[in-house]
Symmetry: C2
Subunit: 335 residues, 2 copies
DNA sequence: GTGAAAGCGCTAACAA
DNA sequence: TTGTTAGCGCTTTCAC
């Protein structure tokens, strides 16, 4: 059933030109006479010819493929990024070979990407092991760690200024008159969590305050829900919680309101991180720190294209500015 | 900087065997002696050899790549599907070449997929034009329309039983004692909307009721918000609304509660469709119709693999059962 | 089981 | 501008 593949040779024969002429016709910026081009196109149309990108890649040494690794898409931050990244890459003339990966099979996946001759790799996830980036670097392929930072890795990285974002929240919550300010952590090994937490402590310290209590949500809905329960069973429960990302913050608010009968923000303020689309949904109206997703994606693609071009596969680290987005989930001043 | 590529010939030389022996070593189920294999592997490891999947595809005629088209990832239904589909395909030994597409550039995108010799295509979006499926079919490549149905297309399709789902909602809302039951439509040209609406009307009719009013949300947040305002500015506003998908239903609930000061479900019941993860978030607790995403993905992959195998590139249409998931956004009986 | 040889569909010198 | 000629890195007969 598989249609007999039409090759450039078939087209050449039909158009009574050489096979190279056909190749040139389908190569942008190659020199072909208008007449030849016309005849080739006619024959190609007639036969339903479509150049084989794989063969082209094989000889040209450029596959035009970028490998993208993602660990999960539950947290809406990642679909947003994936969509933007994919569109941007397409606009630049590249294709995306996408892989979902668990902590277990990352080796296999990276190996697969490499076999498919990807020209660049984006690793968009907080959970990815860093040795993989090394593997790619060894192959001379640029790698960008998205939303993640590994000091010892040869891979470039694009993050937002998580430290500053956390600091802003620390300041903001103290200025809002809160007295027992707590933190719900993400995945503890992640650079995002480390930086956000460190910045947060700094922000509190600038106002002479220390973190009231802390629990770990591991960037999951369930983890965040349980962390909330843990934090609030104490007699002196928090009157403000900084949650390491929005995805968890929604779960925190749900538990606060539905299980603990606490009002947000009257009883307790909640602040998240990311500014995912749902943050502005009225049911949550979450005060949060915006990660500039578009700028982050642009930086990612820029680094990739830059390194792919030439010899200089140097390590770059783009850190983009964050800003506090004030909505309704946190009090603004002492009541 | 690009590392000098290591080829099978290099490995062969190092292992003192023929290039074919190297090839066989890396081909599952090829006959190689234990000794040869050992030497080849040693040399390969030494040199950092990795087979070139593109060259392999070129000669074998099988790229191992499946093209996946998605139109947007805002609606969480699609990220969920994309993740499951991708994992499933990876588990089956295929890779995903992903494309985001707008109505404008679909031709370009499909062309690109075809040039990359994808062995199958999944089109996951309600907005995709159907002529493209034809293009693929012409190339002898199986296509599955996901969550979408086009009677005149040669492409296979996988959907849930939207008709039955709509019918269940019609019955459910009447049985709940509602008297002014309205509908907020999705994208009007989509098969999902047509079927859900038709089923809904049928479900109402079975109880001797007709749809009270109707507005179009076009499957967008803003569209749904406006549709809600339109519907509720009437003096006899609905006491129940069936919204064509969950994504819009959240916006409907937000407008109802935040702008119109109406209580859900006391003043008005809301029912959605899809059962996306957020539906069970407590702030919404949305009663909805579940689309069996896992089963739908499984069916998709099964159809694809089946058609890719052999000659029979016949059209299949899988319709999977839906079920009503009752939560708290709709009254159960007359108050 | 192994190597030699042919060739997948294409691009890229190189002459003409 | 055009055609000729080599391959890109690999799989796959086919003898041995």
């Amino acid at each position: 059933m598989a249609k007999p593949t039409v090759t450039s040779t078939d087209v050449a024969r039909a158009a009574k030109v050489s096979q190279s002429a056909v190749s040139r016709t389908f190569t942008i910026g190659a020199s072909v006479s208008a007449d030849t081009r016309r005849r080739v196109m006619a024959a190609a149309d007639e036969l339903g010819y479509r150049p084989n990108a794989l063969a082209r890649s094989l000889i040209s040494g450029k596959s035009g493929i970028i490998g993208v690794l993602v660990a999960y898409l539950d947290n809406q931050f990642y679909p947003v990024i994936l969509e933007k990244l994919s569109r941007k890459l397409q606009a630049e003339g590249y294709r995306v070979l996408m892989f979902m990966t668990d902590t277990g099979d990352q080796d296999v996946v990276v190996n697969d990407m490499l076999q498919y001759q990807v020209e660049g790799v984006v690793m968009a996830s907080a959970h990815l092991s860093s040795s993989l980036a090394q593997r790619c670097a060894d192959s001379g392929i640029p790698v960008v760690l998205f939303n993640r930072y590994v000091a010892t890795s040869p891979a470039s990285s694009v993050t937002s200024d998580n430290l500053e974002g956390g600091r802003l929240v620390g300041n903001f919550l103290v200025d809002g008159g809160h007295e027992r300010i707590s933190y719900i952590a993400g995945f503890e090994d992640s650079s995002t969590n480390r930086d956000r937490e460190a910045g947060f402590h700094k922000g509190l310290a600038e106002r002479g305050v220390v973190c009231h209590s802390r629990a770990v949500g591991a960037y999951t809905i369930e983890g965040a829900a349980q962390a909330t329960r843990d934090l609030f069973q104490s007699k002196s429960y928090p009157d403000a919680v900084f949650v390491a990302n929005d995805h968890m913050a929604f779960a925190v608010m749900d538990v606060l309101r539905s299980e603990l009968n606490l009002n947000v923000p009257d009883d307790v303020s909640v602040v998240g991180f990311d500014d995912v689309p749902q943050s502005k949904w009225r049911a949550y109206d979450l005060t949060t720190v915006e990660q500039p997703s578009t700028a982050m994606v642009d930086a990612t693609v820029e680094i990739l294209l830059d390194q792919m071009g030439g010899e200089n596969i140097s390590r770059k680290a783009a850190v983009l500015p964050t800003k506090l987005v004030v909505r309704k989930s946190a009090r603004l001043s002492k009541t």
